[in-house]
């Protein structure tokens, strides 16, 4: 994360413990920069994660995500 901040580019992050793996964020991401982990979180969901590049900081995934604390998007 600090890398993105240092690079001064937008990024999104998923709290893997709060994500319920509904994949709605994937469905709305215009750049397809979100993927689903093969690992299970402690609530037995496959959480989403940021693939690491090309996030535009549009925030659509944030509003598509039903969980208040699961997604955070930063647009410098």
């Amino acid at each position: 994360m600090t890398d993105n901040a240092a690079l001064d580019v937008p990024w999104m992050e998923v709290n893997g413990e709060l994500c319920k793996g509904c994949q709605l964020c994937l469905a709305v991401c215009p750049k397809s920069v979100i993927a689903i982990s093969e690992k299970l979180n402690s609530a037995s969901y496959h959480p989403a994660y940021y693939t690491g590049a090309d996030c535009t900081g549009c925030g659509l995934c944030f509003y598509a995500c039903p969980e208040p604390g699961a997604i955070r998007v930063t647009k410098p």
Binding site: N15, E17, L18, K20, G21, C22, Q23, L24, A27, V28, A43, Y45, G57, G59, L60, F62, Y63, A64, C65, P66, E67, P68, G69, A70, I71, R72, V73, T74, K75, P76
Partner: protein, 473 residues
């Protein structure tokens, strides 16, 4: 820098939530409630409304709204959130009140509360999450369930002829004049979601500006109830649900209404103000020295409706009150009154009154024949029975009773108004029983008769009744 993150409109940790996961909601994966919650919380924070907001949770999946929203919270009975929200808003018009409801709560069990809060134009926001199913209770048919949709109570699918049609609340409420803003939005694709966000913000703004009632219906997925994965649920919503529940603004008068035009007054309790007000309710008969009452009077007055029977009782009662006596007045009430006959019981006593019902009067006034027939036998031996001989043909038993036969209606007619026969009778009663001095009664009448122009006529009528009895002796 712009950051999209969990709003301060939410509690940082959901301490009220049961179980270990205190930072995640209790909602199922892909449930639209979370999206709507986020939009509300964000708006409350950005508009600076958190501190004075009251979130009313319904019964349904969002029953636990109070786990999440970092403001004052109510939990309401099923369907009653708009009634609770109404009262909250009315007793603090500066609060920001949200009635958050699902389809079963809002459009089935709470239909009446929904319609009437809207019809009163309560200055609140109703956020209606329509996901076409009862989620919390186990996937039963909702009022918004689609034709053909299977649920645990429509196992073969909803049939129009059996279960009725999905109900369109936004359209229905938009027929009412009072609501300010009614829109249907969806948690569907990104465009829909951002429109939903806009609508929620707009509704809260309308309330904060005192412009009245807003209703935002949010078509939303219930993947668990629909037995679909979240992405398929979203697609079904987009392809099927929106055909039945078209999106759009059904009413918007937010621009044409003035700020605070729907802000209602509420004053907190001030004992001094109440005291001043209550003082105006007190008797205007004026103070008088107590007047002794030799014998307790237990009176029954009976006649036709319109003869002033009840008023006769009230006038005697007021004389009694001013004299410092114990007084009770009880009317026959309800349909018997409307049936054209009237009667009332009046007790005037020097000490505490027992039964307010007069079974065996020592004073009976009859102003029609049926009353004579019905009540004469009940009068105690030696009791006074006053008969308006203009109207009543029969005569009471003069051996057992003390009849006062007076053409009260005819006398009243001479005085100028047949309708004040009751006051003629009052004069006769006072003379016959000697209960209170004439002047005292007349003074009381002057104060008791509201219409100033009628005072003299009433005093005249009273005097004629009084003299009639005195002269007859």
């Amino acid at each position: 820098m712009k950051t999209y993150e969990k709003s301060a409109g939410f509690f940082p940790v959901f301490e009220r939530k049961t179980g270990p996961a205190k930072e995640a909601t209790h909602y199922c994966p892909g449930c639209g409630h979370g999206n709507v919650h986020k939009m509300i919380a964000e708006a409350l924070e950005e508009f600076g409304l958190i501190g004075r907001s009251v979130f009313v949770s319904p019964v349904g999946c969002s029953v636990f709204g109070y786990y999440y929203f970092n403001c004052g919270n109510f939990q309401a009975a099923h369907g009653r959130a708009p009634a609770v929200a109404t009262a909250v808003k009315r007793t603090n018009p500066d609060s920001i009140v949200i009635s958050y409801q699902g389809d079963g709560d809002l459009a089935a069990i709470g239909t009446a509360e929904t319609i009437h809060a809207a019809n009163r134009g309560e200055n609140i926001c109703v956020f209606f999450v329509n996901n076409a199913i009862y989620g919390m209770t186990g996937g039963q048919m909702a009022p918004t369930t689609m034709i053909g949709q299977r649920s645990t109570t429509t196992p073969q699918g909803r049939l129009e002829t059996v279960h009725g049609n999905p109900i369109r609340m936004a359209e229905m409420l938009a027929t009412l004049p009072a609501p300010t803003y009614i829109e249907r939005v969806a948690i569907g694709d990104s465009k829909h979601i951002m429109k939903a966000r806009k609508a929620i913000r707009k509704a809260l703004k309308i309330q904060a500006e005192g412009k009245g009632y807003s209703f935002v219906e949010i078509v939303s997925a219930c993947p668990t109830g629909w037995k679909m994965d979240p992405v398929h649920a979203r697609d079904w919503l987009l392809e099927d649900m929106l055909k039945v529940f078209p999106l759009g603004v059904f009413k918007d008068e937010s621009d044409s209404r003035d700020e605070n035009s729907w802000h209602r007054r509420y004053d907190a309790y001030e004992p001094a103000v109440v005291d001043e007000y209550l003082d105006r309710l007190k008797s205007t008969l004026g103070e008088a020295e107590p007047v002794a009452l030799e014998n307790d009077l237990h009176c029954k007055f009976a006649g036709f409706g319109g003869q002033g029977i009840l008023t006769l009782g009230l006038l005697l009662s007021q004389i009694g009150m001013r004299a410092g006596q114990h007084v009770s007045w009880f009317p026959a009430y309800g349909p018997e009154m409307r049936g054209g006959t009237a009667n009332c019981s009046v007790n005037l006593c020097g000490s505490r009154i027992g039964t307010p019902l007069v079974e065996n009067p020592n004073v009976l006034v009859v102003m029609n024949q049926p009353s004579l027939d019905a009540f004469a036998d009940q009068v105690t031996d030696g009791g006074v029975i006053i008969v308006d001989t203009t109207i009543v043909e029969g005569r009471p038993d003069a051996k057992r009773l003390r009849p006062v036969l007076i053409p009260a209606t005819a006398i009243a007619d001479e005085v100028g108004m047949a309708k004040i026969a009751n006051v003629v009778v009052l004069g006769a009663l006072v003379a016959a029983t000697g209960c209170f001095p004439r002047a005292f009664c007349e003074d009381t009448l002057r104060a008791a008769i509201k219409k100033r122009s009628l005072v003299d006529m009433n005093i005249d009528a009273f005097g004629r009744g009084y003299d009639f009895v005195k002269n007859a002796r």
